[in-house]
């Protein structure tokens, strides 16, 4: 039983990690290429979830919702980039923080305006309902496994996109020398909009996928955003590989901490108190991990090779 529970929690951690990777990949790409810190990334996640929930409610199909979430988040990302973000690339980080903070306020209140304060619900598609049996005898939700699968697929696709395609080459060139690729005739404005929309679509995808597990509500993006920050700080800002490793570390540490720490303290003290201390410590665990990583490597585990 204990092994089965352990495996189950491990998979939960992996699923959280994959989710965080989808968020962190966009953030780190946007920072790596444009040098922009985007607090509104969590809002794009929320946009994806709301688009998925409302499209799924209208058409009755989760898959239509998923497509809608990608389209809506990418479109929202592109519009925001063209209207606001574009003016921020040359500004300092303080201005970027403030402008994107303002965007969060606008997105959150705007969404509340459109959809009301009540959460929406999204059903798991029939194809992915049900469970799979795990070694050790317990059963695991198929949908969560599917999320892990999607995350791995996106990671591979992203790797191929960046390493093998022309767009990827331009993205990498943009990371190492903006002026030069502009001088070589690459339309850098369109490239930036594309990268931003790509990051937004990934965030929207994450929001839609998680929407079926939790309720879809205003403010759902912020906790994920902050975890994604922890991920890219651990992984090294600007590095996709770092985002992947960091996401898995954070996802697994957080889930396993909540599972194991109360039990660990249970060996030392009475159960009620162990639950309290273990729970409180578990809620801080990833931040402690982050502090330790930074103490050893201030630039994160995989510092992006930049001049």
């Amino acid at each position: 039983m204990q092994t089965a529970l352990f495996i189950e929690q491990m998979l939960n951690g992996l699923q959280l990690g994959v989710m965080l990777f989808l968020m962190a990949a966009g953030l780190t790409l946007i920072f790596g290429v444009m040098g922009l810190i985007n607090l509104a990334h969590g809002s794009l996640y929320m946009v994806g979830a709301f688009a998925c929930a409302s499209a799924a409610a209208a058409t009755g199909s989760f898959w239509a919702g998923l497509a809608a979430s990608l389209a809506a988040a990418a479109a929202a990302g592109a519009i925001v980039e063209i209207l606001v973000i574009r003016r921020l690339y040359r500004r300092d980080h303080l201005d970027q923080v403030l402008a994107t903070f303002a965007l969060i306020l606008i997105f959150s209140e705007g969404t509340r305006w459109l959809f009301g304060s009540f959460p929406l619900y999204l059903d798991i598609p029939p194809l992915l309902q049900g469970t799979v049996s795990l070694p050790g005898g317990s059963r695991y939700q198929l949908y969560r496994l599917a999320i892990i699968g999607v995350g791995i697929a996106v990671a591979v696709a992203l790797f191929l996109l960046i390493a093998k395609t022309r767009l990827g080459m331009r993205i990498r060139a943009g990371e190492s020398d903006r002026e030069m690729i502009g001088a070589l005739g690459v339309d850098i404005r369109t490239l930036y909009t594309l990268v931003f929309a790509l990051g937004a679509a990934l965030a929207g995808l994450a929001g839609a996928l998680v929407g079926a597990l939790q309720s879809v509500q205003v403010g759902m993006g912020e906790p994920v955003l902050i975890l994604a920050f922890v991920v890219i700080v651990i992984g090294g800002i600007g590095s996709i590989k770092g985002a992947l490793v960091g996401a898995v570390i954070v996802g697994v540490t957080d889930t396993m901490g909540r599972f194991l720490l109360p039990q660990l303290f249970g060996l030392l003290m009475p159960p009620s108190q162990a639950g309290l201390v273990g729970g409180a410590l578990a809620s801080m665990l990833i931040y402690i991990v982050m502090a330790v990583v930074l103490a050893v490597k201030p630039q994160g585990l995989f510092p992006a090779a930049k001049g």
Binding site: F31, I37, V84, R87, H93, L94, D95, V97, L98, A99, F101, A102, L103, I104, L105, I106, S108, E109, G110, R112, W113, E222, I226, F229, V230, I232, V233, I237, L276, G279, A280, A282, S283, M284, Y287, I288, M290, A291, L294, A295, P298, Q299
Partner: protein, 328 residues
Amino acid sequence: MTISRETAVGIGLVLILLAIPYAAIELGKPFYVTLATRMAILALAAVGLNLALGLGGLVSFGHAAFFGIGGYAAGILASHGFSGQPLDFGLFSLPGTTMMPAIWVVAVAAGGLLAAVIGAISLRTSGVYFIMITLAFAQMTYYFAISWPAYGGEDGLSITLRNAFPGVNTLVPINFFLICYGLLAAALVLFALTRDSRFGAALQAARQNEVRVATVGIAPYRIRLAAFVISGMVTALAGALYADLNRFVSPSMLSWHMSGELIVLIILGGVGRLAGPVAGAMLFVLFEFLLGGLTERWQFFLGLALLGVVLFARGGLVGLLVGRPRHG
């Protein structure tokens, strides 16, 4: 001695803030005294942040942690003072108290200690890393407050009766306002003295050119850490007052939204300006009150206004009134 325009504007703003509650009482609208108190407390918190952000260029997105720890210091001490049970630290125990000066000392010490720990780690990095790490640490205290049920957890902690100040009846709103205002004035003096001191010069120089400061033999890290700790202390003091104003402490004081608001106050007022936080807090509270009265969606318009200020009107209110700083 001639007074610079910035100083004149600053003195003017501070005097206006003092006049608001008296005018409110004259006009028979005592509710506005509370509004003015809120302005003074938020301004105090922002003066703290302005030390780190304005002078030191340290964009801390985690000052809610200090604001909240000050609030919790007040709430926890008051609840123990009220119930008569000492705070138990295992090895030793402390009596609770409902005396403001004692609470302030504890709040400031707690804020300083937390700022020392967070700063020591965060200041190893800079730029975006610093922003994200301070945010993450504040979030850590937030989740800790939520998951620790002894002092209310997610529900927060009420303060039964506003804490006392020797010789003053703090239950009278204007008296409490004057206490807050006095502390704000003291903090503004501290800010001005710091800015013009050798320490402040080194801090501002480290913002403008870190390498040069290091070359002349000053370690930027230590200067910044000291500024960060002082900054955390001032903001924690404001947190203790805020708890007394609302007679309530909750994890929302620690939330990242609070950190964002503190930065917004400074930007609205003017970064690094002495009176920037005062102007920003007055503007913000007024905005919140007026728009909040008109529409439930006031945050939407706050977002638009903020976006406009960031994109088109840099320098904030003080910048608008005084003009650009001569160097920056």
